[in-house]
């Protein structure tokens, strides 16, 4: 079966097709869940916010400009949902990134090393200001350009570039000195 385009799935979703919207959810769940996790730093809260984001998107599908990409629109809704939840759960939002967000605990030396690397990366990410966390995730993981990040976060492109730069420097330092890739 040929993969359906976002536009086609959006058209069907707007007509009330839950299955089509479900395929959009599956397609964009990784992006949305990573963004909510980067804002909230709490696995369960991140999933709650991600669910709320998709439910909000479902009710607001009529407002989506069919001429524009679904991803940035969905990302904006996800960020709003995460920030809204963060405001309501201010205490939790100040906690460091929990180990469960970094996956399973280490079982062998190699896994222990990898687990330690993840813990350090998680701690470094948690120490960044929210807009740097989101900017670096959008740039390094989601492949957004500085201009797109600036538009999404409501800042000039140069500021987005600077936020990504500073975040990367901190994260690279946490991963091992700033010049060597993690193994």
């Amino acid at each position: 079966m040929a993969p359906e385009s976002d536009a086609e799935l959006l058209r069907l979703s707007r007509a009330g097709d839950h299955a089509a919207f479900g395929r959009l959810v599956e397609r964009y769940a990784p992006l949305v869940r990573r963004l909510t996790a980067s804002v909230l730093r709490h696995a369960e809260d991140a999933d709650d916010a991600a669910q709320e984001a998709f439910l909000s998107a479902w009710t607001a599908l009529g407002q989506h400009d069919a001429g524009r990409s679904f991803g940035p629109w969905m990302a904006r809704i996800a960020l709003n949902a995460a920030r809204d939840l963060a405001r309501r759960r201010r205490v939790r939002a100040t906690e460091p990134l929990p180990p469960e967000l970094a996956g399973q605990g280490p079982g062998t030396d190699q896994m222990a090393e990898r687990g330690d690397l993840r813990r350090r990366l998680g701690a470094a990410l948690a120490a960044l200001p929210e807009r740097q966390r989101v900017a670096v995730v959008l740039f390094e993981v989601e492949g957004y350009s500085h201009a797109e990040i600036g538009e999404l976060l409501g800042m000039p492109e140069g500021t987005a570039r600077s936020e990504v730069f500073h975040a990367r420097r901190q994260l690279r330092a946490a991963l091992g000195g700033g010049t060597e890739a993690p193994r």
Binding site: P30, R34, G103, L117, R168, G178, P182
Partner: protein, 112 residues
């Protein structure tokens, strides 16, 4: 990779992979199923939403009825009798004698 300049616009793939592994909880299909379950008619969420308003109204009615009953039950019997309002009550004074003027007013209304 060395990050030497803020103007370096190329992504750091290793850092990207590490962040992806850190932030991706996985099981996206199960997550999508949970979202869809909240959209489907007849889902527990939808049922809750449908019952929320009538349920709240019924609860308020019940609370009002219970409050009224409790107030009545806690009143002394003398207060329950209430003020005299019948023709006989108006016509007979506290001593049991006929008050004719009051009787006429009660029967015909004031101003006659």
């Amino acid at each position: 990779m060395t990050i030497g300049s803020p103007f370096d616009g190329s992504p750091d793939h290793e850092l990207g992979a590490a962040l992806r592994a850190l932030l991706s909880p996985g099981e996206d299909a199960a997550f999508a199923a949970r979202v869809l379950a909240r959209l489907e008619p007849g889902s527990p969420w939808e049922a809750l939403a449908q019952w929320a308003r009538p349920g709240l109204a019924a609860a308020l009615l019940l609370a009002a009825a219970l409050g009224f009953w409790f107030t009545l039950a806690s009143m002394p019997p003398a207060e329950l009798a209430g003020p005299r309002s019948t023709l006989a009550d108006a016509a007979f004074g506290s001593a049991g004698t006929i008050d004719r003027e009051a009787m006429v007013v009660a029967a015909m209304g004031p101003g006659r």
